[in-house]
Symmetry: C2
Subunit: 663 residues, 2 copies
C-alpha cells in the first residue's frame, strides 16, 4: 500500500522536509507541545487557521449558498440516550489488541497491515528487487519494530494472499482480524509475542453533564445527529417542501486508539456535513443531475476491491448511475459536486479517486457509501464520505421518542384505499380482558388483511373468533362480536406520509487541508545554487494571505505608501501582510513563498517619485509594474479568478529590473 509521493511538479516529496517547514511557518503545531504534547491533538497557527477559514468559506458558497441549504449549529455535548439510539454506543468502535508482555495497545487492523507490509518488503529485498525510496524510508522508521525480521523470500502464493488481504483490510471484523493474526502468526516486534485477540473499543469521549454526575454524555462523533433531531423543525422552516438539505460545520471527536499520521488521524477535528433529505420513492432522482452528468470521476468500486485490485475506472457520473455502479442520481450528483469542490480549492486532479465501501466496512447506518480519497505521502486518504444513510436515523429516533419524523405530502390525486378495518369496542374490551387487555388488543391490531378477512367470516358465522396471543391464557383467546367489529371499507387518502432517506456528504476539513498542502507543495532551486526553496502554490482564493507588501528598506518615507496600499486592499476585501523586517527582499519573498502568498508588492524609491509599485507572482516569480490602483485592481481580478497572470502580463508592463535579487 506504500506509494511514491510527488510534489506539484512531480518531484519526489520528502515528507520530513515538508513537515518541518509547515511547523516552522506555524501552519500547525502539536497542541500543548511545551507540556510534551498529546498525540492526535494539533493547533493551527495563523496560516493554517486562515487556510482552514478559506476552505470552509468556499465550502459554504459551493454547497450551502448554491443550493439554499439550511445551516444549523448544534451542541457537541450529547446525552447517552441519543447516541444509544443512533447505534454509536454499541457500534462506533475500533478493534484493539494488547501485547501480553509490555501492555502496548495496538489498533488491530493497523497491526495486521504493518506486519504484512514488512513481510512483503522483506520478500522484495530477498528477491533483489528495487525497493522504492519511500518504502525504504518507511522501513527505516519501523526498524525498531521490525528488528530481527530478515529479508525472507515468500512463496508466490503467499505474496498474493498478503496483497489480497491488504486490498480489503477495511473489510474485516475483530474476529477475522484475530484469525489472520493467528493464521499468519503475526507478532509484535517489540516483544516477539502475538497480541491478545482484538476487543472492541468505543471511540467516543465520555463525560457527565450537570453537578450530580447522573447524566452521562459524549462528545459527538459526527455533526449529523443534531441535524436529524431537528428534522421536523427544519422541514417546517422550509415551509414543508421537499427535498431539502441541512448542513453544519463544527468540531467532532474520536478517541483514536493510537493516533499517528499527523493531521490525518486526530482526536478533535472540524467536519462539514450535509444531510440531504429525499423521498425514497422515484429512485432518488435529482433535479440538477443533468448539470453534472458529463463530469468524469475516477471510480474504484466494491467488486474491483473484493477481487483484490485497486484499478480505477474513469467514468462520466451519468453513465456510472445509469449502469448501476453508483446507486442513484442524488448520490451521483453529490459525488460530482464534491469533485468540483475539491478541484476549486486546488486539489491535484490526478490525485483524487472515489472508492466505494465494502459491506463490512460501511458504518452501521449506511446503505451505500463512497469516499473521496486523496493521494498523499501516507497513501490514499479518505477525505470526504458520501453515504446513503437510508431512513435509518430518522426511523430509530422517531421510534425511541415517539415523535414523528416524517413528511406529510398532499396527494395531487387522492388515493382510494379498500381494506379490512378493525374497530375495538374500547368500553367493553378493556374491562372484559382486564390485565391482558392491551396484549390482546395489540395482537388483534397486528393482524394481516388475510387474517382479518377470515376473522370477519368467523364472527359472522359463529359470533366469535379465536386468535393466537402468546402469553395470554393457553395462547388461544376467544373474542366475541360484542367486543369488536371487522369490516371491509373504502376510504380516501389525501395525504401521503413517509420517512425521508438521507444522502450525507461528510467532509473532514483537516484531512482536506493537509492533502491540499501536500498537493500544492514543490521546491525550486535558487539561482545562487544553494538549497532548494519551498513553495506552496495555493490558488489565490484559498491562500492564507493574498498579498505581501515589501518595502525595499525600513526607510520612513515608505510608511505612508504602505499604509495607503494596505488600506486600499482591505477596502476591496483582500488580506495583506507587511514585511518590513531587515531581511533582504529575496529572503522575505522566499519566506513568503513558504507561506503560499500568491502576490507580492515591492515599494521602492521609484514609488515615492511616481506612485508606481511592482507586483510579483509567486509561481513564476515574474513581475509587472504599474500605479497602485491598477495593481490593486489586478490583484482583485486574480483573487476572484476572473483573470489569469497571463492576462495581467499582457495588460501591464513587465518589470525585469530587480529580478535576480527578487527570485
Amino acid at each position: 500500500m506504500t506509494t511514491t509521493a510527488t510534489t506539484l511538479k512531480g518531484q519526489p516529496l520528502d515528507r520530513n522536509v515538508l513537515d518541518s517547514m509547515l511547523r516552522r511557518r506555524m501552519f500547525y503545531t502539536p497542541s500543548f507541545e511545551i507540556y510534551g504534547g498529546v498525540s492526535g491533538l494539533y493547533d493551527y497557527g495563523p496560516p493554517g487557521c486562515a487556510l482552514q477559514a478559506n476552505i470552509v468559506d468556499i465550502w459554504r458558497k459551493h454547497f450551502i449558498l448554491e443550493e439554499d441549504m439550511l445551516e444549523v449549529d448544534c451542541s457537541v455535548l450529547t446525552p447517552h440516550e441519543v447516541l444509544k439510539t443512533s447505534g454509536h454506543v454499541d457500534k462506533f468502535a475500533d478493534w484493539m489488541c494488547k501485547d501480553p508482555k509490555n501492555g502496548e495497545i495496538l489498533r488491530a487492523d493497523h497491526f495486521v497491515e504493518d506486519v504484512l507490509e514488512t513481510r512483503l518488503r522483506g520478500d522484495k529485498e530477498a528477491r533483489g528487487e528495487k525497493i522504492e525510496e519511500k518504502e525504504e524510508a518507511d522501513a527505516k522508521k519501523k526498524k525498531k519494530k521490525t528488528k530481527g525480521q530478515a529479508a525472507v523470500k515468500l512463496d508466490d502464493d503467499v505474496v498474493k494472499e498478503y496483497e489480497s488481504i491488504l486490498a480489503q483490510i477495511d473489510n474485516y471484523n475483530g474476529e477475522q482480524l484475530g484469525d489472520l493474526i493467528k493464521k499468519y502468526d503475526m507478532r509484535n516486534a517489540a516483544t516477539g509475542l502475538q497480541p491478545s485477540p482484538p476487543v472492541s473499543f468505543n471511540l467516543m469521549f465520555q463525560t457527565s453533564i450537570g453537578p450530580s454526575s447522573n447524566l452521562a454524555g459524549y462528545l459527538r462523533p459526527e455533526t449529523a445527529q443534531g441535524q436529524f433531531l431537528n428534522f421536523a423543525k427544519l422541514l417546517e422552516f422550509n415551509t414543508g417542501s421537499m427535498p431539502f438539505a441541512s448542513a453544519s460545520v463544527g468540531k467532532s471527536y474520536r478517541n483514536e486508539i493510537s493516533p499517528r499520521a499527523g493531521l490525518l488521524r486526530v482526536r478533535e477535528f472540524l467536519m462539514a456535513e450535509i444531510e440531504h433529505f429525499v423521498d425514497p420513492e422515484g429512485n432518488k432522482k435529482h433535479h440538477r443531475f443533468h448539470e453534472v452528468e458529463d463530469i468524469e470521476l475516477a471510480l474504484l468500486d466494491r467488486h474491483t476491491q473484493l477481487s483484490g485490485l485497486t484499478t480505477v475506472k474513469h467514468v462520466p457520473i451519468g453513465k456510472a448511475v445509469s449502469e448501476g455502479i453508483v446507486d442513484n442520481e442524488t448520490l451521483g450528483y453529490f459525488l460530482a459536486r464534491i469533485h468540483l469542490f475539491l478541484k476549486r480549492i486546488g486539489v491535484d486532479q490526478t490525485k483524487i479517486r472515489f472508492r466505494q465501501h465494502m459491506a463490512n466496512e460501511m458504518a452501521h447506518y449506511a446503505a451505500d457509501c463512497w469516499d473521496a480519497e486523496l493521494l498523499t505521502s501516507y497513501g490514499w486518504v479518505e477525505c470526504v464520505g458520501c453515504a446513503d444513510r437510508s431512513a435509518y436515523d430518522l426511523s430509530v429516533h422517531s421510534q425511541k421518542t415517539g415523535v414523528p419524523l416524517i413528511v406529510r405530502e398532499r396527494l395531487d390525486e387522492p388515493k382510494i384505499i379498500q381494506e379490512w378495518e378493525v374497530d375495538i369496542e374500547k368500553k367493553k374490551f378493556g374491562p372484559f380482558f382486564k390485565k391482558d387487555g392491551k396484549t390482546v388488543e395489540a395482537a388483534v391490531l397486528a393482524t394481516t388483511q388475510e387474517q382479518r378477512e377470515k376473522f370477519a367470516k368467523d364472527l359472522e358465522a359463529n359470533g366469535k373468533m379465536v386468535i393466537d396471543v402468546p402469553g395470554v391464557a393457553d395462547g388461544k383467546v376467544e373474542v366475541g362480536q360484542d367486543l369488536l367489529k371487522i369490516e371491509y371499507r373504502t376510504r380516501t387518502e389525501n395525504v401521503r406520509e413517509y420517512t425521508p432517506n438521507v444522502i450525507e456528504p461528510s467532509f473532514g476539513i483537516g484531512r482536506i487541508l493537509y492533502s491540499l498542502m501536500e498537493h500544492n507543495y514543490w521546491t525550486r532551486s535558487s539561482d545562487g545554487g544553494d538549497e532548494a526553496r519551498a513553495v506552496l502554490s495555493f490558488p489565490p482564493s484559498v491562500a492564507p494571505t493574498k498579498v505581501l507588501i515589501v518595502p525595499l528598506s525600513s526607510n520612513k518615507d515608505f510608511a505612508p505608501f504602505i499604509r495607503k496600499l494596505s488600506q486600499k486592499l482591505r477596502t476591496v476585501g483582500i488580506s495583506s501582510r507587511i514585511d518590513d523586517s531587515s531581511a533582504t527582499i529575496g529572503k522575505r519573498y522566499s519566506r513568503n513563498d513558504e507561506l503560499g502568498t500568491p502576490f507580492g508588492i515591492t515599494i521602492d524609491f521609484q514609488t515615492i517619485k511616481d506612485g508606481s509599485v511592482t507586483l510579483r507572482e509567486r509561481d513564476s516569480t515574474r513581475q509587472v509594474r504599474a500605479g497602485e490602483d491598477e495593481i490593486v485592481a489586478a490583484i482583485k481580478s486574480l483573487v476572484d479568478h476572473s483573470k489569469s497572470w497571463a492576462d495581467i502580463e499582457s495588460e501591464l508592463p513587465i518589470f525585469e529590473g530587480q529580478e535576480l535579487e527578487i527570485r
Copy 2:
C-alpha cells in the same frame, strides 16, 4: 435587581412573546428537544446560525484584520496538567449547596439572590407600593418556590442591608454566602429548610484521553490557555516584535450547576478571545490610544459598587485613564474598541455599561477587569470581559515546564551591571556534598547581594563560609573556598528579558447574540387592527438574510426573473431567500420581518413587461421601484452601509401602489 425591559421603540418587552417567536422562527431551539432536552444546551437554526456567523465575521474584521492579530485555532480537549498549572482545576468553581431533604442542588449566590429579591418584593407589596409588571411576572413564575411567603413588611434598615448585599452579590465567597444564609435564615421554599453550607463545584467537564484511560483531560473553559502555550511560537511568527495580539474563535465549556436564563447561561458556548501581549514597563501605553480617547463610555467602577450603588458615570476613556479609574491605556483602548464593536453590530447604545470587577469577584488570574454589560429583560448581562491578566499565565506555564515564555529585547544602549556573582566548582561541589549537593547549591545561588558580599569577605578571611540550609545536617553548612568563588564583577547586557503582560478582551458570542435580538425587537400594529406584528430591526450587515424575493404569485412566468435576480445578488455577495409560498404578500413580508430581513423585492406582472421591481424597507415598510440593476446596486450600498434608506428614497421613485397590501 429586576428591571423593566423595553423594546427598540421603548414598548414594554414581553419576553415570553419574544421567546416563542424566536423559537418558532428557529433562531434557536433546545438541543435534543425530542428527547426532553438537556438544560443549558441549545442549537441555532438557520437564522440564528447566520446571525452568529455575521457577528463573528464583523468581529474578525473589527479586531483581527484591523490590528493584524494572529488568529489561532487550538484544541478544546486539554490535559489535566495544563489546567492544574493555570489554576482552573483548583479555582474554576462555583458555590453549590444542597437541600438536606429533597436533594435539590442550588447555586449558592443565585439562591441568596432569589430569597432576598422575594423578600424585598413582599415588603413592597406590604407597603402598598406598585410592583412593576416584570417583577410581577417573575414573582408568578417563582410562586411554587415562594409559596407561603406572605407580603411581609421589613424594617427600613433591613431593606437597605438586603439591597447592599444584592449590589455586591458577586463579591462573596462560599463561606460568606453560607454566613448570609444562616444570618438571614434563608430557606428553600420547596422544603422549608436551610440548604447545606456551600461547597465548591468545579465547572469543567472531565473526560479521559486515549484507550487506557490514564490521561485525564477537560473540555477547555476558555480559549486563552491554547494561546498562552503557543506564545513563544507566535512571537517568532511575528518576527520577534512586540506588542502583538493573538486571537481565537471557538467553543468553550462550563458545567453550570443549574442553568436557567435561556441562551444567557449555557454549558457550551462560542467565545472570541484576544490575548494582547504588552511590555509591563512604560505604563502599558497603546500607540493608537489617541484614536479613541474622546469616546465616552458608561462606567460603573468598583468603589461605587462597594458603596452599594449602581450609578453609572459617562466619561471619555482618555479622562478615565488619566484619572486612574481605568488602569492603563491598553486596557482603555480595548474598552473603547469593544464599545465601537457593540455599536457596529447594532447593540442599543442606551443599554451598555462597563462594570469593574470587585476584588473577590475577579478570576484568579486577573489584576483588573471590566465587563461590558448589556441590559436585557434578565437585567444587566456580562457579555464581554476585558481583563488585565498581568504576567500570571505565561509565568506559571513557564515555571511548570521550564520553557521560557519571555521576550528578548535588544537594548538600544547596553546596560552596565555590577554585582556579586557566584561560581560553583561543579566537579568538586557535587562529590563533596553527595546527596545534599543540589540543595546546598540552590541555597548558595538564592543568596542576596548583601549576603554574597559578606560571604566573599568570610571566604577571604577564613577560607570558608557558613550558610543556613534548612534540612541539611543541623541546618548550618560549611563551604570551603575550593568549592566556590564569589566575586564582584562588571558585565554588559545587550538584551533585556521580560515576561509580557496580557490584556484579554473575551467575548461571549451567544450572550451578545441574545442581547442583540432583544435590543432590535419591537412590534407594530397592523392596519387591519389585528394583533401586533414582531419586527427584528437588525442592521443590514448583521441581518441573517439580506433580501427576500417575493413573486406576486406562483405564476411560472416569474421564475426566470427570480433566478436572474438571486444570481445577480449572489454575484455581489448578498444572500437572498425566495418565498414563493401561496401566502399573501403581506403575510410573507410579516414572516420576514420576524426573521429580521431588511429588504424585500416584489416581482409582479409589471416586472415581466419592463423588468422593474419594487424594493421594500423593513422598518418603514416604504417602497421604491426601479430596474433590477438599480435595485441590486441600491441594496449593495445599503448592506455595506455606504447609503441610508433616505438616500435611496431621494434617488429612486417612491412606489405606493400596493402599500396597503404589503404593510
